[in-house]
């Protein structure tokens, strides 16, 4: 186990030395960028936050993205580029935890679950494979924003301690962020034994799956807590712990039922409810981790607030883009839920009659996506959603204004742009 970690470390060091040569190549491919950034700065001076400007800015970044990334690979391209900047592939961030005796013990037992429909299996698979939705983006973003903020003379560490421009404590924080996210996924996958169906698998196996899920999640959470304590900054602990609290609270709002399925309560009528729910379930962790990365390096409170805004707006943009993809991409239709942003927006626009009609489509034996989609598109809810997505993307990008230009900042912008794709 240790040798593997050691090997991984070696890999990371190697890639760190490669960075120098890499950045040279990288900047060549981005030759247009210096020009663009100066344009952006001028634009910034001209206007503060009018809508026109937002659109103007959007086209700028959109074009930029299109020139650097190819269509479908855009996210993975942005990720692999960004990984090189921070030093090593972040997909292995929580590997150290995975290699522990406790979790390998669990992995042995996991065989029993094969054939059942226990959610733990899916989560475990996601941890090992680099699935589409498990790119461990959070950790990467935390490291990138750490690097973008740069060294700080007031930091409790020397600049020499930085590896690839990131303080060791910030690296640990990125790892902790990923571990917490994984732990929350695992714990959310605990099933209510009263509700299981015959096709899910035998009761005893499902119960066993729950046991494993509870233990492995607890293990990850406790190692995250110990890691946080080691950082030695109470403020950071408070921030990260409250984001754990937020993620848990998200499961108790009227938006989620006891089994973890999305529901839409009668009381929810506005988009702000959607924002609140998204903040609790995803935004809080990223926002507070980014903020904590600033705190760890001793940066000013303002910089922390901007990092928080970056994390939050990035999450909104990302979630909106995912919700839109559930409409525009046929394969992802099943991801469309009554709580998806376009549906919530539709509720704001449509009459009560129309809304009720839409919900009947969901209740049909086979969900009638065609009718739901056409209603959403015709009402303009989808367009509104796209608009909002771009707005949040731009908000996220403009919250990076406080940092000087750097390859890390470019990578951040690339990442945000890639994960908030709305085509």
């Amino acid at each position: 186990m240790y040798s593997l970690i050691y090997q991984l470390r070696m890999v990371s060091f190697e890639s760190a030395t490669k960075i120098v040569s890499f950045t040279r190549v990288y900047s060549k491919s981005l030759q247009t960028f210096p020009k663009c950034s100066s344009i952006k700065f001028q634009l910034n001076k001209l206007s503060s936050s009018s809508d026109k400007f937002q659109i103007c800015k959007y086209t700028f970044f959109r074009d930029y993205r299109v020139t650097t990334n190819e269509d479908k690979k855009s996210v993975s391209k942005a990720v692999s580029d960004a990984e090189k900047i921070v030093g090593y592939p972040t997909s292995f961030l929580s590997l150290r935890c995975l290699l522990s005796d406790e979790l390998s013990n669990i992995a042995l037992h996991m065989r029993k679950l094969v054939g059942t429909r226990h959610p733990l299996l899916k989560t475990a698979r996601g941890m090992v494979f680099d699935g589409k939705n498990n790119l461990q983006l959070r950790g990467l973003l935390v490291m990138l924003i750490s690097k973008a903020a740069g060294p700080n003379p007031q930091a409790p560490y020397t600049e020499q301690e930085m590896i690839s421009g990131v303080y060791p404590s910030q690296r640990s924080l990125a790892e902790i962020t990923e571990v917490i996210h994984t732990a929350s996924l695992i714990h959310k996958g605990v099933v209510n034994l009263a509700d299981i169906l015959p096709e899910d698998g035998p009761l005893s196996d499902m119960e066993f799956g729950n046991k494993m899920a509870v233990l492995s999640g607890d293990y990850l959470l406790s190692s995250a807590c110990i890691g946080l304590a080691k950082l030695g900054n109470p403020l950071v602990i408070e921030q990260v712990a409250s984001s754990i609290g937020d993620m848990m609270a998200a499961e108790f709002t009227p938006f989620t039922d006891a089994g973890g399925k999305s529901t839409v309560p009668e009381s929810c009528n506005s988009f702000s409810d959607w924002l609140k729910q998204t903040h609790l379930s995803f935004g809080s962790l990223l926002a507070r981790s980014c903020q904590s990365a600033m705190t760890l390096a001793g940066h000013s409170e303002d910089l922390g607030k901007m990092a928080f805004a970056f994390g939050e707006n990035t999450t909104y943009a990302h979630q909106l883009s995912k919700d839109i993809a559930a409409i525009t991409n046929q394969d992802e239709n099943p991801n469309l839920r009554p709580t998806s942003a376009p549906v919530v927006l539709y509720r704001e626009m449509a009459s009560l009659e129309e809304i009720n009609k839409m919900y009947t489509f969901w209740q049909e034996e086979k969900i009638n996506y065609k009718k739901i989609l056409s209603a959403l598109v015709d009402s303009g809810a989808v367009d509104k959603c796209k608009q909002l997505c771009l707005q949040y993307r731009n908000k996220a990008i403009s919250s990076l204004d406080c940092y000087t230009e750097s390859d890390a900042k470019v990578a951040l912008i690339n990442m945000v742009t890639a994960v908030s794709d709305v085509r």
């Binding site: 929350s184 959310k188 605990v190 046991k211 406790s222 807590c225 946080l228 304590a229 108790f252």
Partner: protein, 449 residues
């Protein structure tokens, strides 16, 4: 650190009586470093000096007026050394083995009876631990609820469910008493500091969060005489509410702003989880089983109590030595507490405990009474290995335990730990709080639920 001194004393005595194997004793001294046993008429110590690679056994006996010492030199733990040592032990021990009987040394029967109190200092008996910190304890449930403030009504109901004031709140009690005792010892007044109070709150929150998770793992339907959370709201939300309580405890802890205290208490979380993992597996080796059990007991129960004691000692400006004593007190108290808990599982009825009894057996867990009984009834070993899964195993095991002196020996072990705990706080400045700590270690053995 795996075994406490007292445990090894009991085992040493057991060996003298031919009730435990030499292998166990050998492992024990290797794990422990040194062991001393003292009683009215003899002193026995065996130790392993790493530096000199000498294994030494010393004993003295008042009856024989003089010290006897055997030194064994070796460069490795070879079997010949083991044989030698065994030989010298058998030469050394028979001298006093006849006079060595638990029951003559310790008035155990009286210790555990409820009808009559035993003789020691009446001054201890006047201090009611609960009364001494009643003021601080009163606001505890409310303070915890303040930590669990949330807008979501369901989350509020669920997270407040176990903080209804019906629990034993044993952990806050210990940490509040220890706070007072420490503060008096280091001359900073006799009131509990705000931060120490926070530690008490955090301890109870961590404990409750782990209870909620344990109930899901053990599929337990009742807790404290009422329906458990998982029974009422399902497993999924119970787990999430446990995490929520833990996160709010971490926030409260972070607000103390003391990195040492934060590190100490977060290490408890690691212990709790690894204790739970240890509970999953059992040791093949019969001799390792007991140390496995004690280690698990430390991690699952004693670690939280021990580390909160240490944390409040640090907040009370105690030096390292005192903090270590506070830690040791908590550790011994915690192990004694759990041992009593384990034996109550055998002798108490469902009604009194508020949870089903023989629960451990039903979960496949072999606790101290069973492990002791297994030394008299080897049939139990097979049942322990298959985790009492076969038809009739649970009843059979209960029968064996009742027939053996397993319960009695568990009581003795608890008593030894309680005595050790008392020794740990003996040197604290004399105060009501200190006396209450001592008294607590005594009444702990008499509890019925």
């Amino acid at each position: 650190m795996a075994l406490s001194n007292t445990t090894s004393c009991v085992l040493l005595e057991k060996w003298c009586k031919g009730k435990c194997t030499f292998n166990l004793l050998w492992k024990l001294t290797n794990a422990l470093g040194s062991t001393t046993y003292r009683s009215n008429n003899l002193e026995l110590s065996c130790g392993f000096h790493q530096a000199n690679n000498i294994k030494a056994l010393c004993y003295s006996s008042r009856q024989h007026r003089g010290n006897h010492c055997c030194n064994l030199h070796s460069t490795s733990k070879c079997s010949s050394l083991k044989r030698q040592w065994k030989h010298s032990l058998s030469i050394a021990l028979p001298v006093f083995v006849p006079s060595l009987s638990y029951y003559s040394i310790m008035p155990t029967k009286r210790k555990f009876s409820t009808s009559q109190k035993d003789e020691p200092d009446p001054s201890y008996l006047e201090i009611d631990p609960y009364k001494l910190v009643a003021e601080e304890m009163e606001g505890l449930a409310n303070d915890i609820k303040m930590c669990l403030k949330t807008e979501e009504p369901l989350l509020k109901t669920m997270s407040h469910y176990y903080f209804d004031g019906k629990g034993k709140t044993f952990r806050p009690l210990v940490s509040l008493l220890m706070s007072k005792a420490c503060n008096i010892s280091s001359n900073i007044g006799d009131s509990v500091l705000e931060k120490q109070k926070t530690v008490a709150i955090v301890a109870e929150m961590i404990h409750t969060a782990s209870l909620v998770h344990d109930d899901v793992i053990d599929a337990s339907d009742t807790r404290r005489g009422q329906s458990s959370l998982n029974k009422m709201y399902g497993q999924r939300r119970s787990i999430l509410v446990g995490d929520y309580i833990l996160s709010q405890a971490s926030i409260a802890l972070a607000r103390t702003g003391n990195p040492d205290v934060i590190t100490i208490l977060s290490s408890v979380l690691g212990d709790l989880v690894s204790g739970e993992f240890m509970q999953l597996g059992s040791k093949e080796d019969e001799n390792e089983r007991f140390s496995h059990y004690l280690k698990k007991t430390y991690k699952k129960t004693a670690s939280l109590i021990a580390n909160t004691c240490k944390a409040v000692a640090i907040l009370g400006q105690c030096d390292e030595e005192m903090s270590e004593l506070a830690y040791q007190y908590g550790k011994n108290l915690g192990i004694a507490f759990q041992l009593v808990d384990d034996l109550l599982d055998f002798i108490s009825s469902d009604m009194v405990m508020g949870k089903p009894t023989a629960a451990d057996l039903k979960l496949g867990l072999a606790t101290a009474p069973v492990l002791f009984a297994a030394q008299e009834y080897p049939d139990l070993h097979a049942m322990i290995m298959r985790r009492f899964t076969e038809e009739g195993d649970v009843e059979q095991a209960r029968y064996f335990v009742a027939k053996s002196d397993g319960v009695q020996q568990t009581k003795l072990l608890a008593l030894q730990h309680s005595k050790e705990a008392i020794k740990n706080v003996q040197d604290f400045a004399s105060s009501d709080a200190q006396r209450a700590l001592i008294h607590l270690a005594k009444i702990l053995l008499e509890r019925k639920k």
